[in-house]
Amino acid sequence: MSIDNRLRQGFERSASSATADLVDDLPNALARGRRRKRVLVALRATVVLTVVAIVVVAGPRLVSSLRTEQPGVPNPTPSIGTSDFSAIAGTYAVELTNADATVAANRMAGVWTIQLGPDGAMQLSIPGGFSREGQTPAGNAFTLAASQLRTNLFYNDFCHSIGVYRWQLRGTRLTLTPLSEDCAVRQAVLASKPWEVQG
């Protein structure tokens, strides 16, 4: 006999001995299938509810922390200009009022003081009421190039770009006029009014 015939006949004979009991097996399969389906539905519902709960509870916190911290993005230094900051170095103050819409919207009204160091360092004191009161604002440098002042003030905080202003110091008044600025908060602080030399 050929192996092919032997296999076909042998399998047919052997398989005929394995008769399935449909009367018992079908109800079992249906019952197990229904139970399995219920478990899967419950499991999926649990997963969905868990994900929803995580999004509802942790989502706003996560978004808030990303907005305020944005870790890993260093403050860029304003592009290099002159190293002689003596022409502008000093302490200046300005009082912002709610007449400016951005000032009012961000509760920025109050006296702001800015200290421009002879080394290009910038320190800003923030008035009470502003949401960042008591905190050191992100970005603390400026550079000068002829009549232009470039600064990274508030970078990663409210701003995502370098601001470029034309500066003009006449007597005791420092005026900053925006040349390239897409950050409303920084512009409101620096350019709403002329700054007055202090002390």
């Binding site: 006999m1 050929s2 192996i3 092919d4 032997r6 296999l7 076909r8 006949q9 042998g10 399998f11 047919e12 004979r13 052997s14 398989a15 005929s16 001995s17 394995a18 008769t19 399935a20 009991d21 449909l22 009367v23 097996d25 079908l26 109800p27 079992n28 399969a29 249906l30 197990r32 299938g33 229904r34 399995r36 389906k37 899967l40």
Partner: protein
Amino acid sequence: MVRTQLGERMNDAEAEYSWFYRGEYPHVVRTVFLILHDRQRAEDITQDAFVQLYGHWNKVSRYERPDAWVRRVAIRMAIRHIKRERMRSILERESSSPSIPAAVDVDLLGAMQQLPVTQQVAVVLFYFEDRPIAEIGHILGTSEGAVKMSLSRARHRLAELLGEEVIEDVHRQ
């Protein structure tokens, strides 16, 4: 809702599933039995495959070949079972006594056990189920060439073990 011969109330999908079950279940049990050589285990695995089918019935019932789906699931379960069993110690295997009915071709099943599991499955699907090479490849997750190779090697090995002759090569599609 319909009432079945078994006295159960079931919806249309379940009625359709039951109809399919009655037609296919015995065939799948026999195929799996020829792979496992254990009737009880073959029934258990086929049941598990049909339970899985129940969960996917809405989708699988729209397939062109729902029988191929459940057969593939059952065979893959059987292959996993054999591989698990082979991992166990020889002592444990010898102590277990699968329920082999008296009518079976014991020599053939014994020779089959000498083959790698993929060759066993290919031989059963080809000679018992009369499945085309391409479908066997799909079930095993391998190419048609690999299936032909498996069948050729299995035939020669089985012929040697059973003292039968190899007359022609396998090239049926």
